[in-house]
């Protein structure tokens, strides 16, 4: 077979293969090596040059080269059609200044991020996590927590009523009662959840918010322990250099009670972050714990407030507006 005959034979075989061009990338690669590979048909053609006379060699060589270029370009064109994206040409893909593909981002809501962070801090020191109902009876939301009916302390929390004795819980403290009703001491829990207040919506208050409650019951628990855990928490959440203040306050379900402030350098004043205290003996009585043996502390904080302080957000309504321009910052 002369060189030309060999070329013609390769051409014929190539045409046939081109017609039944595979769609699978691996088969395309197989085909590519059938012609252009180290042991492929073109390699065969070049081998044949060895037996051609020196006079013919350049001409035949050129013929094979031209033929190879022709076939290669046909092959690549076909291959690129199969791989689909003809927009992404070599030239463009080499323009490294082009932005990449427009991949869509998602985000986790800032309140969720704060909640996760707070949960993790307390989990790291051995707190478990519990949850409870938002629609709650008066007993668990108020009475059992030492807030009798017609007591001025009820004014501290404006309440939504579902029925006369059923409310949307005003705090997560209802879960304290459920936990102690169900379990024997000692126990150590945090309780996150959604709570409601019948208050006009403004930049600083919303009709609902999220709280995280802590409860620790054991023998010999003191105010110093309460201060210890909160100090640890505040420094981990707001940073090592945070200054914390612990001052007396009043909650019906704790005695002694305290409020915790942190110093805000920017505003130049103390910012209240949470309420806490030693579990009131009346609460222990209500759940059947012996208050001469068991002591405990409880604390509660607002997730919104913590988030606002941490990120410098000045309007609580932003959390519930879910503006993408807000969400994408977190």
């Amino acid at each position: 077979m002369t060189i030309n005959e060999s070329i013609a034979s390769v051409r014929k075989s190539f045409r046939a293969d081109l017609d039944s061009f595979p769609s699978d990338q691996r088969e395309i690669e197989l085909l590519r090596s059938k012609y252009f590979g180290r042991k492929g048909l073109f390699a065969g053609l070049y081998k044949k040059l060895a037996v051609v006379s020196n006079k013919e060699k350049p001409k035949s060589g050129q013929a094979i080269n031209a033929f190879k270029i022709e076939l290669q370009s046909e092959f690549e064109e076909k291959a690129s059609l199969i791989s689909g994206d003809n927009k992404d040409t070599d030239e463009q893909s080499l323009d490294l200044s082009l932005p990449g593909f427009p991949i869509t981002n998602g985000s986790i809501h800032p309140l969720q991020q704060t909640l996760d962070e707070i949960k993790n801090i307390f989990k790291s020191v051995g707190f478990k996590v519990a949850y409870g109902p938002e629609i709650e009876d008066d007993y668990h939301n108020f009475e059992a927590l030492n807030i009798p009916k017609h007591h001025p302390a009820r004014d501290m929390q404006d309440t939504f009523f579902v029925e006369n004795d059923v409310v949307l819980r005003t705090h997560t403290s209802n879960v304290q009662i459920h936990l102690m009703e169900e379990q024997e001491p000692p126990l150590r829990y945090i309780v996150p959840g959604r709570v409601y207040r019948n208050e006009a919506v403004s930049y600083k208050s919303y009709c609902l918010f999220h709280q995280i409650e802590g409860l620790y019951v054991d023998k010999n628990v003191s105010m110093a322990d309460l201060k210890g855990i909160l100090n640890y928490f505040v420094k981990r959440f707001f940073g090592e250099g945070t200054t914390m203040r612990f001052r007396p306050s009043f909650f019906p379900f704790t005695e002694p009670s305290a409020e915790v402030d942190i110093w805000d350098d920017k505003r130049g004043k103390w910012m209240e972050i949470l309420g806490c205290g030693m579990v009131d003996p009346n609460v222990f009585d209500n759940v059947g714990y012996d208050s001469s043996i068991w002591h405990g502390y409880a604390f509660g904080m607002g997730i919104e407030r913590m988030t606002m302080l941490k990120y410098g957000i000045d309007d609580i309504r932003l959390f519930y507006q879910n503006d993408v321009r807000f969400l994408e910052q977190f």
Binding site: D24, D85, Q92, L98, P99, G100, F101, P102, I103, T104, N105, G106, I108, H109, Q112, D116, K123, G126, K128, V129, Y131, I135, H150, H151, P152, A153, F160, F161, V162, E163, P186, L187, R188, R194, N198, V201, L208, N220, S222, M223, A224, D225, K227, G228, N231, R245, F246, R247, P248, F250, E255, P256, A258, M278, H295, Q321, N322, D323, V324, L327
Partner: protein, 788 residues
């Protein structure tokens, strides 16, 4: 509550600045703040040089005000403006409040260059009767803010409801005295002796309900002169934020602010029966109160003249029996009413007065008598009255203080700090608690009558701790109990879900669970209404997360973000036999899921981009048995149900236009899904098991079938999987081709199959045999033709 610093200084020596005092009180549990000094712009101390009548208006004055350098003509409408006064002067260009800019203006034909301000205009108080007059130390031309901070004479205290005793200057002064060790300079007015109880001849008091009114003290003072109070009284009341009215009213207010005990002064002659009755009101009765409002009564506690109500007990006096300019004989009431009774009464009438606030928190039963004597003295001194010797003191239900045992052991456990015996004894007795040390480890204590909050041992420990200083308690770490190995957080799995959704390009939302009635019922579910909603738009608990998310999409579209994928993990609330709170994962997608770029064209969201997201989610969660099936759903145009085994766990699809219309939302196609989380989370294994990776190669094959147009590729895929071939790993449709050459109503579908054996490298013959089986089944079951 506002407390006057000059007043406090008459009761206890105070060496601290106002700011330091606020800090001391705060650290004692009385949260005190300096009044918020709004930043002032352009307001200076001015001096009125001349105040003449405005030529064209009777009620206006034409003043000349100096700032120390220049003189300005200013028109002023206040009745109290006068020459020589130092006043807050808002110059032209000054800003009052948020955006009220003072301009040069013409008032009734006279030009005014600025304004003389009242306290309300400055945002300092509600006082708007006249302009604010500054003291003689004011420095003309100086910044008004500087004047304010150097002349600050009061603090605002945000009292907790357990401390009625501190709703008075004596109460606050006592706290300061306990903390600083300075002596409390206050003694109750002396109880007077009398030969004969003459007042009993001219007044009788009948308590109907001793539980509601345990004590009622009364007496009479005659020949009084109603007139203005002396300057010292007017000034001290003013620093406490109380305007002077006349000497009689001022006396009652003064005693209230001083000792915290509310009294009421009737005009004796306007109670002609000379009888006071205390009983519950009857339905249909009414009384016109001092504020000239006619009050319909139901069952409030009232003071009567023996027959009809003349005052609402503990809340407000009646107009008909009130002191007027012509009053000459007064009847003093100083009672102790039951807190709950007063609270209910005040609440039912929506009247929260200085008196009711004190009674409902618990007044001092002994204070009833002490206040009586104080009022008598002041009526004599300030109104020239003559006391009718005697006192009526009906005290049918004695209120006494229980004795409390305080133990060293409990102090040590709870406080976590070292409080010495002397400190405990001194602190408690400084708080007017009767303390007796019993042996080495015990105290017997009787709290004073003005501290209803001290009932138990822990209450006394709190007293010791707060006086000691919470700031001095050290921090410690102590855990007696063991770490518990039980499940740490049942909701960890929700984090996995939200993180996955975020990775898939969705933004997490937090939405209000309260909504309006229509929206709550829009998907045909029963919602839970609030008995006392905040507003009509927030009256019901939501029954679906969809409306809130759709409204959020709409909000974002209007704010320039039309390509949004949102999700929420939250509760739906339903009313069945019991109230239900059910966690859902709900999401919506609008616009493009892939934006146009130099590399690609944009891709719109579609039912299949939606399905892709959900498939990816379930794959990530390792919940593999999820199936989608066409289902009619009343809020989707194209709807699919999502099930797990036999349980339907949710649905997805293209949301109906009519639903968007009902929500009043105008937007393009929105796709959504809603999944109940409990059945899903049950399936999720957070602790995973490893399955060995198969070392033998996978073999890929394509099969091309010509099918009837209406056959669902999903059914064919499922049938292929069901051939029970041990080596068939996966099947998925990868291409659908329609052409007339295929025949009428036909389509050609390419399926991509993967084969693999767990035990060996597959041979060609095995694969072919499996494919033959598949071909046989598919051609038979779907009347399909294999295309070469």
């Amino acid at each position: 509550m506002r407390v006057s610093i000059p007043w406090l200084k008459t009761l206890v020596d105070i060496k601290q600045s106002a700011a330091e005092l606020a800090d001391t009180l705060t650290m004692l549990g009385l949260e005190a703040e300096m009044p918020d000094n709004a930043s002032f712009s352009g307001i200076i101390v001015g001096k009125v040089l001349k105040a003449d009548k405005h030529p064209n208006a009777d009620r206006l004055s034409l003043c000349t005000v100096s700032d120390g350098k220049e003189e300005y003509q200013v028109v002023c409408g206040a009745p109290n403006v006068a020459a020589e006064q130092f006043i807050p002067f808002a110059t032209v260009g000054a800003v009052l409040g948020d955006d009220f800019i003072i301009k040069k203006s013409k008032i009734r034909g006279e030009v005014s260059f600025g304004m003389i301000c009242s306290e309300r205009e400055l945002g300092l108080s509600d006082e708007h009767e006249g302009i604010m007059v500054l003291n003689e130390h004011a420095k003309i031309g100086s910044d008004f803010a500087d004047y304010l901070s150097s002349n600050l004479d009061y603090l605002e205290i945000d009292l907790t409801p357990n401390r009625p005793d501190c709703m008075s200057h004596v109460g606050v002064a006592r706290e300061i005295s306990v903390k600083t060790g300075q002596e409390l300079k206050f003694t109750y007015a002396e109880k007077r002796q009398f030969k004969k109880n003459e007042v009993a001849d001219i007044l009788s008091v009948n308590i109907d309900d001793k539980n509601c009114c345990p004590r009622y003290v009364a007496g009479v003072v005659k020949n009084i002169t109603v007139g203005p109070s002396p300057d010292w009284m007017r000034e001290i009341l003013e620093t406490a934020g109380q305007r002077s009215i006349n000497n009689i009213v001022d006396i009652s207010n003064y005693v209230l602010l001083e000792m915290g005990h509310p009294t009421h002064i009737f005009d004796y002659d306007k109670v002609p029966s000379h009888t006071i009755g205390i009983r519950k009101a009857k339905k249909g009765e009414h009384v016109t109160t001092l504020d000239e409002e006619k009050r319909k009564l139901t069952d409030q506690l009232v003071i009567t003249d023996g027959k009809k109500p003349i005052a609402i007990a503990g809340v407000m006096g009646g107009l008909d029996s009130a002191v007027t300019d012509t009053t000459s004989t007064v009847l003093i009431e100083s009672a102790y009413f039951d807190p709950i009774t007063i609270r209910r009464g005040a609440k039912s009438l929506g009247m929260f007065t200085e008196a009711s606030k004190r009674f409902e928190r618990g007044a001092d039963p002994k204070g009833a008598e002490n206040a009586y004597w104080r009022v008598v003295v002041l009526l004599e001194e300030l109104a020239g009255g003559e006391w009718i010797p005697g006192i009526i003191d009906e005290y049918p239900k004695k209120i006494s203080q229980n004795s409390i045992t305080l133990t060293r052991e409990k102090i040590d456990i709870l406080s976590g700090c070292e409080l010495s015996d002397t400190f405990v004894t001194d602190t408690l007795s400084n708080l007017d608690i009767e303390v007796k040390k019993d042996g080495s480890n015990k105290w017997t204590c009787i709290p004073p009558s003005f501290r209803p909050d001290l009932e138990r041992e822990v209450d006394l420990i709190e007293e010791c701790c707060r006086v000691y200083g919470y700031d001095k308690i050290h921090s410690s770490f102590h855990y007696g109990g063991l770490y518990d190995l039980a499940e740490v957080d049942p909701e960890d799995v929700l984090s996995l879900i939200s993180n996955t959704m975020s990775g898939l390009g969705f933004r997490q939302c937090y939405l209000n669970s309260l909504t309006d009635e229509n929206t709550a019922g829009i998907l045909g579910k029963h919602s839970i209404p609030m008995k006392n909603p905040l507003s009509a738009t927030l009256s019901h608990l939501r029954t679906s997360l969809f409306p809130g998310l759709l409204q959020t999409v709409n909000y974002n579209i209007r704010n320039g973000n039309s390509n949004v994928n949102l999700f929420e993990i939250g509760k739906e609330y339903n009313s069945g036999k019991e109230y239900g709170e059910v966690y859902h994962l709900t999401g919506v997608m609008h616009g493009e899921w892939l934006n146009k770029s130099a590399h690609n064209n944009e891709q719109q969201q579609s039912i299949h981009s939606l399905k892709g997201i959900l498939e990816a989610l379930f794959k990530r969660l390792n919940v593999n048995a999820v199936e989608f099936a066409k289902a009619d759903h009343n809020h989707y145009d194209f709807g699919l149900s999502i099930s797990l085994g036999k349980t339907v766990i949710g649905n997805c699809g293209k949301l109906k236009k009519s639903l968007l219309d009902d929500l009043d939302l105008d937007m393009d196609a929105v796709f959504g899904f809603d999944i109940e989380l409990k059945p899903v989370t049950k399936e999720i294994q957070l602790v995973k098991k490893y399955a060995a990776i198969i070392p033998y190669p996978k073999v890929d094959r394509d099969m091309n079938f010509v099918l009837d147009q209406e056959i669902d590729t999903g059914d064919v895929t499922k049938a292929m999987k069901n051939t029970n071939s041990k080596i068939l790993l996966s099947v998925k449709p990868v291409d659908i081709f329609q052409h007339e050459s295929l025949g009428e109503n036909k389509k050609s579908v390419t399926f991509h199959l993967e084969f693999q054996s767990a035990v060996k490298t597959l041979e060609e013959a095995e694969i072919n045999s499996a494919m033959n089986d598949i071909t046989a089944i598919i051609t038979k079951q779907f009347d399909a033709k294999l295309r070469d």
